[in-house]
Every structure is written in structure tokens, then in C-alpha cells.
């Protein structure tokens, strides 16, 4: 039996390398396709906000809520977005999603200590908020929309001039 020349060996090895690469790529694509098929049939509904995708049920739920709130908002307003999200850092991603679902507005993340003078409205998702400067203008089962109003000025305490009888409120 004649010994194959080195050139034939090299050609055979190269073809084998191509075949292995193509086969491995095909197998890998098949694995990812099966995973995609599973997720299309049953979109994952767990995980953090950072793992949300457009077809995730929770992101779609947020989208429906914000669409309802958007209907009650005049265009191009500064809107603070607050949520009942408890996992640290995930409220940041939620605010990005809120910005995506409210493109007509400038959406900022609500944080404790936010200067309400810098926003026109506050949207609260899966939570409640009480603040004398917030007036509820729309309600949804997932949350509410509040308009930021001017603070009601507190009347100054009444004082009795020196030598006069104290008023009924001032008597001990």
C-alpha cells in the first residue's frame, strides 16, 4: 500500500478541521435554538429586572401600567418613577424600563430626598406613596400617578400682644 504524501495528509487534516468546525457550529446553533424555542413557548417570569427582556411577562405588565399612566400625562413632562422594588440596584433598571415605556417624557429615578421641584409628576409602581405635595390624578391596580403640587403654606402661629387677654386657643 503506497504511503500517502505529506501534502495529502495536510489536505485531509485541513478538511477535517473545517468539518469539525462546521459540525460544532451546527450543534451549538441547535442547542441555542432549542433553548430559544423553550423560552418563546414559556417566557421566563423569574429573575431580577436586569434579566428582563421585551417579551418577559413582568416587563409587559410594566408596559401596560405605564401606557395607562401615559394617557393621563400631558406630553414632555419630567416624571419621577418610584417602585416597590426591594432588591438593591434593581430600581435603577426599572427606571430605565420606565423611560423606555414613556419616551414622550423625561423619566428620572425617584430616590429619597429627590427635589420635587425638579419634576412635574411621580409615577409609583407596585407601591404607595404619601406626600403632601403629591396629588393623585390617575390610579391603576398596579400603581398610581401623582401630580406634584405647590406646597400648601403653613399658617403662622397666632400670637397675643403684650397685656391683652389670651385668645381661646391660647388659654391653658
Amino acid at each position: 500500500m503506497p504511503i500517502p504524501s505529506p501534502t495529502r495528509h495536510v489536505r485531509t487534516l485541513r478538511r477535517a478541521a473545517l468539518a469539525i468546525l462546521v459540525a460544532w457550529a451546527g450543534w451549538s446553533l441547535a442547542v441555542e435554538t432549542v433553548r430559544l424555542s423553550r423560552e418563546v413557548r414559556r417566557p421566563p417570569n423569574s429573575g431580577t429586572v436586569a434579566e428582563w427582556r421585551l417579551s418577559t411577562p413582568r416587563s409587559e405588565s410594566l408596559g401596560r401600567f405605564l401606557a395607562a399612566m401615559d394617557a393621563a400625562l400631558p406630553p414632555d413632562r419630567a416624571v419621577a418613577f418610584a417602585s416597590g422594588e426591594t432588591i438593591p440596584g434593581q430600581d435603577f433598571f426599572l427606571s430605565l424600563w420606565a423611560g423606555y415605556f414613556l419616551p414622550r417624557h423625561r423619566v428620572v429615578r425617584y430616590q429619597p430626598g429627590l427635589d420635587l421641584d425638579r419634576v412635574d409628576y411621580v409615577v409609583v409602581y407596585n407601591d404607595e406613596m404619601e406626600d403632601p405635595r403629591l396629588r393623585e390624578v390617575a390610579r391603576h391596580f398596579s400603581g398610581s400617578l401623582y401630580e406634584v403640587v405647590e406646597p400648601v403654606p403653613t399658617p403662622p402661629p397666632a400670637t397675643t400682644p403684650p397685656g391683652a387677654e389670651p385668645t381661646r386657643q391660647e388659654r391653658p
Binding site: R14, S28, V31, F92
Partner: protein, 490 residues
Amino acid sequence: MSGTVAVISGLSAIFSTLALAAVAAGLGGALLVLAAARRNGRWAEDRSGTAATAVLSGVVLLFLVLLALDGLGIPWQRRTLAAACGTAFALLAGAAFLRWRTGGEGRVGLRLPDAVGTPGWGDLLAAVALAVVAWGAWTRRISIPDFIYHWGIKGKRFHWAGGIDAAYLGDPLLPVQHPDYPLLLPSLYGATAQLRGFFDERSMLLWSVLFLALLVAFARSALLRGGVRGLWLQGGVALVAMVVAMFAVGYDLAGGGDPLLALALVAALPALVGSTGPAGRDGPPRRRPEEWLAELHRDDLRLGMAAALAAGAKIEGVPLAGFLLLARLLVTAPVAGGHRGAARVWAVMGGLLRRMPRLVLPGVAVVVPWMVLAVRHDLFTARTAGGLDLEHLPEVLEASLAVLALPEWHAFPWLLLLLPWLLLSRRLWAGAAVVAAQAGFYLYVYLSTPVEPTFYVLSSLPRLVFHLLPAVLVLLVLRLAPPSPESPAP
């Protein structure tokens, strides 16, 4: 939604993207005709490569039209887009006609590209791979998170504002990510939404499928340019298509700018692979000088457009554009036959000047308006990158190894380690050098970042590898394939 309504809605979503892509193809086609009107009259390569070049060039031209409208204060609406694109097409077609008419004795009639490389099993596998990506994009299951965080939100805002809303991007209160990024993709989304009537995510995500299809077409073109035929051509096309589809689906890449960078690099490969002068550096003369010159100018334009696409897509596309241009100049150092000494220097410089419009002008037209806008509205984020800090190197390498082993990548990034072997090839060194330079740039960024590098590497390197790997796969197949009689040895 009833079945009929769903079908109509779906077809409308597809139509919006394809219609705008067709407009881009028309603009790009007119540009190619203009470029070829006087010399040789033919893009003498495969038909899919020519069509892909037309669409890629057209996307860049479409972006320039959108920039022009925005700069003139004209809102993006269906009728203004139609008028602007119609005007641009008429100007290009008119210029092409005039150029052809004044071509004199040298003018030839336009000819269709050759039907090179019969479609086969590899093309079929590629079509199946792209169909999987299309399915994932259609169901919105493979949308990249960054589509929400900046690509998509910018496109939505631009659609609503009827143009580039720089004030929105520059608002320091807003958590919009990467306000300083180039604006080609969000502008494309805004224009698509104008056509559709609303921001349909499916229409936007289909652009990623189109970009990946163009990438596969250019990969095919590069293999044909390198003289690869038959089993090797089909295997190469299938390999590139299945790997890009695998990662696009596995890592959720639809909707972002990463497919554009991968596309730009592969689109430039036909212009970087195996270029030789009229005297045939590797052997006896094979072509007439005018044929070589025509190919030189065609490839210059294609590479210039690819560089412009990269620079308009993401910030890291700007250095990539630079590397592409430098590689092109080096690999096509003009052969000033018959000249010596100072005359040779003048011939070389004159040649370079004549080539500058095709090579550099598209990128300049894309980058300058963006830079002006970003500076005027203070969009550049404070990237307080310090100097190179080699103490980060162990962490960066460890995180990089973790990325190479990422399950979604199925071990393919390890092929990047074959770059030194590709650099040794006389025919392929230019393409490999661009990949190496871009990889070096990414390494530099990681080593000079002020933030903790491990998370930075883990969160971004998988996508940065996607920019480089398709080109490496094409070069690898060219390296492995036996040389054909038409091409020089590797």
C-alpha cells in the same frame, strides 16, 4: 388580536424595515453606478457581494440624509423622508449619467456582476441560521437589554421628536445610557418608526437580522475574493452564519450596535484580502493596469463605507474605522511603476490624494456632525480613564478567560488565539492586523479603566468578541483552504 389583524400587523412591521432597506439599497446602488460609471463599468465580483455593498453604502447615505434633514430643522416625517431620499437618489443618478456621458473613449456599458460561486448546502445552512435569528427577533425574545437602556429609547424619542433630540440626550437628570454614542442606529429606528406609524419593536429588531445577513454575504464575497470555491466556500459560509446566529440567539444581541461592528469588519475583508498591484507582486502580471485600478477604486469605496458604518455605530467603531483605513493604505501601497526617486514620491502622494474622497469622506461625513452635536450639547460622559495600569492585567486576563469559556459562546472565541498564525500569511495579514489592533484597543480600555475591571470585562467582552470573531472565521477558512489557481499562495 384576531388572526387576520395579527397577520396584517406582522406584514406591516416587516414591510417598514424592508422598505427602508430598499430605499437604502437604491441610494447605495446609485452610488455604486456613479463610482463605476467611467471605469470598467462593472463591480466585477459576486452578485451577493455587490448587493450587500449597495445596501451597506445606502444605510450610510440614508443616515447622512437624516442628519441633513435634522440639521436643516426639517422634521422626520414620511413625506419629508420621501422627498429627501428621492432628491438624493436623483442627484446620484444624474451625476452617474453625466459621468458616463463624459467618459470619452474609455467608457463602457454597465454590466451585471458575474454569477460566481454556485449556491449550495452552505448557503442553505446559512439561510436556516438567519431564519432562527429572525424568529428570535420577531418574538422579541432575543432583544438585547441595551435596546431598552439606550438604542431603543433613543429611537423612540427621535421618532416622537421628529429628529435627533439632543437636549433629551444631554439632560443630566435622565438615566439614558451612553448619550455620547454615535447616532446611526437610533436614527435608523426613528426613521423606521416614521414609516411604520409607530415604534414597532419587531421592525427595529429585524434590522439586526438584516445586518447579520449582510455580514454573511460579505463573508461569502471575501471567500470568493480569496479564490475559495466548492466545499471550502460552502463550509466557510455555513460556519460564519451558524456561529453568528448561535451567539445572536444565545446572548440576546438583536437591537444593539454590536452586529454593525461585526458587519463593518467583515465587509472590509474583500478589500484587505490578497490585493496585488498590476505587476502582480506575487508573480507574473495577471491583470491589465486599468482593471486593477478599477478594482482599487471599488474596494476603496467599499472599505470607506464600511469604516463609516463602524464609526457611526458605536464609539469603539471610530478606532476600528481608523485601523481599517490604515490597513487599506498599507496593503495597497501604490505601485508607481516606471517612476523613480522624487517622481515616485509625487506619484504615490498623488495617488493617495485621489483615493482620499472614497476612503475618508464617508467616515468624515458621519463623524463630524456627531462630534459637533456631542460637543455643543455636552454629551460626552466623563470617562475619567486614567493611564495604563498594568496592575489590572491579572484581573483582566482572568475575567477574559471566563468570557472565553462562556456557555453561550460554545468555545468558539478560543479561535482568536490563532491570530498570530493568520498574521503570518502574506495574503491575510492586513485583515488579521485590523482584528489584532482592535483587540489591543479593547485591552487598553480595560487596563486604563478607573472602575473595577472584572465586572467591566465580564459584562462587555462577550459582545466585543462578537465584533472580531466572524472576521477571524473568514480569515481562518482562507488560511486553511487550498490555494486556487487564481489566487496567490497563503
